[in-house]
């Protein structure tokens, strides 16, 4: 690939000067970055077979075109290996999808992060962690793919804290928030197969505007309904009302208990949907929705999400420990929708 890389170039003497320049220009997330040299950027582009000026996505409300070149530069800075690039590109396509609604989750005081779930063979090939310490540090793919997404948001789309990112609390997942599904041990249909009809041999990435993971504990139940009953009790008192999606991440022990009862992901979604409703009276008393409590409000109910399909069920997390977690989506019911994008890989 020889097409010209058109980004402005800055001459530096050494790594320290490159780093100082990146900090000075406001190009980092606060952590040191890898200097984006032309050779490193070209390796990123080669990994996806894209010309530098190829448009990966367009963010309508910002009128910003995200070129392959800019994705590659930010991926280098984030510390990605070139083979991670197809995942980064697919995730950027996902957050630019009108269903994801970039402006809301990127800008809102509600502080969403981009929960990024990788499915398919690429997750195993790139060693995207799906097991112990799922959301924790230690895996290069998890750490740098999510970081690249955030650097693109910051440097290309202008999602800068205090300016076009008005998050009240921000979110630790804004450094990175990438997991894989534990397809090797999961008894269930993988997320991408369920959501967009992929084959299990396809790879895909699902992006969801998401709040923090909230862990729940059940060491006592030997049944699916028992384990998920605990989940529902925790989930039905949300901090806000009307999220478009929830993600439920079931770790090893709970996964095995639920699967032993023969429950599918559809069964899990249905159970959670049916057992997380609340009365309108409750929401009014706790100031989640406006108005005085009226007589009918004690029996009128509201579901957690509009449909059971709005609950993403993912098998991931450590094999040991009677814990699983759920992750509330960001925003109102129509504000942002989780999007699954098939990862395009270059044929070898």
């Amino acid at each position: 690939m020889t097409a010209r890389i058109s980004s402005q170039r800055y001459a530096v003497e050494d790594y320290q000067e490159a780093l100082d320049l990146c900090y000075q220009r406001g190009w980092t997330d606060g952590l040191p970055v890898v200097p984006p040299t032309e050779s490193a950027v070209r390796a990123m582009l080669d990994a996806v077979g894209l010309e530098p000026d190829a448009q990966v996505a367009f963010i309508t409300n910002r009128q910003v075109a995200i070129s392959a070149e800019k994705v590659a530069i930010n991926a280098v800075m984030a510390g990605c290996r070139p083979e991670y690039m197809p995942v980064v590109v697919a995730a950027i396509e996902g957050i630019a999808d009108p269903r994801w609604g970039y402006h809301g989750p990127a800008t809102s005081t509600g502080s969403a992060a981009v929960l990024t779930i990788v499915n398919g063979p690429i997750a195993r090939r790139l060693d995207v962690n799906a097991g112990d310490n799922l959301f924790g540090p230690g895996w290069r793919a998890n750490a740098t793919i999510g970081r690249a997404i955030r650097l693109v948001m910051r440097n290309v789309v202008g999602t800068l804290p205090g300016r076009l990112d008005r998050g009240t609390f921000g979110h630790p997942g804004r450094y990175t928030y990438v997991i894989a599904e534990n397809e090797a041990e999961s008894p269930w249909t993988p997320l991408h197969v369920e959501r967009v009809g992929c084959r299990p041999t396809d790879s895909a990435v699902t992006v969801m505007a998401a709040l923090s993971p909230i862990q729940f504990y059940n060491q006592l139940s030997a049944t699916a309904a028992g384990v998920l009953g605990t989940a529902c009790d925790a989930m039905r008192y949300p901090g806000q009302v009307g999220q478009p999606n929830y993600c439920v991440v079931l770790a090893g022990e709970h996964m095995r208990t639920i699967a032993a009862d023969g429950w599918s992901k559809a069964d899990i979604r249905k159970f959670i949907f049916e057992n997380t409703t609340n009365t309108i009276a409750h929401f009014k008393r706790t100031a989640r929705i406006p108005g005085e409590v009226k007589p009918g409000d004690e029996t009128a109910t509201r579901s957690l999400v509009i449909s059971p399909d709005d609950i993403l069920v993912v098998a991931a997390g450590g094999r040991a420990g009677s814990f699983s977690c759920y992750i509330p989506g960001w925003g109102g019911r129509t504000s942002s929708e989780a999007v699954t994008v098939v990862i395009k890989e270059r044929s070898a």
């Binding site: 402005q8 800055y10 001459a11 190009w27 984006p36 950027v41 409300n61 809301g104 440097n155």
Partner: protein, 95 residues
């Protein structure tokens, strides 16, 4: 010393000219469009503003539309209807 070059990771937003429609000298007799953004009480706030514009500035009437959600621009139906049924529009966003 062998230096090297690094590449700029940022872009300049696409510049586009914005042309403002001339503002009316007076709101007297004008039809006022109100675009509600779905946030709590935004409808009440805009109706109140509409009342003030009628009472104190002589506006003729108000008409309200509701966006799909706060994070998106007003959709096409709102723009098309507003273009042929009102003279000025009041919109805003807030929490």
């Amino acid at each position: 010393m062998a230096g090297f070059e690094i590449l700029d990771p940022t872009v300049e937003p696409r510049r586009q000219p914005l042309t403002y429609v001339p503002r009316p000298d007076s709101l007297k007799g004008k039809r006022i469009g109100l675009v509600e953004n779905t946030k709590f009480n935004s409808d009440r706030l805009l109706l109140k503003i509409g009342e003030i514009l009628k009472k104190e500035y002589g506006a003729a009437e108000t008409k309200m539309w509701r966006k799909h959600n706060a994070g998106v621009p007003a959709h096409k139906e709102i723009l098309d209807e507003a273009a042929c049924s009102v003279d000025v529009v009041v919109a805003g966003i807030g929490d």
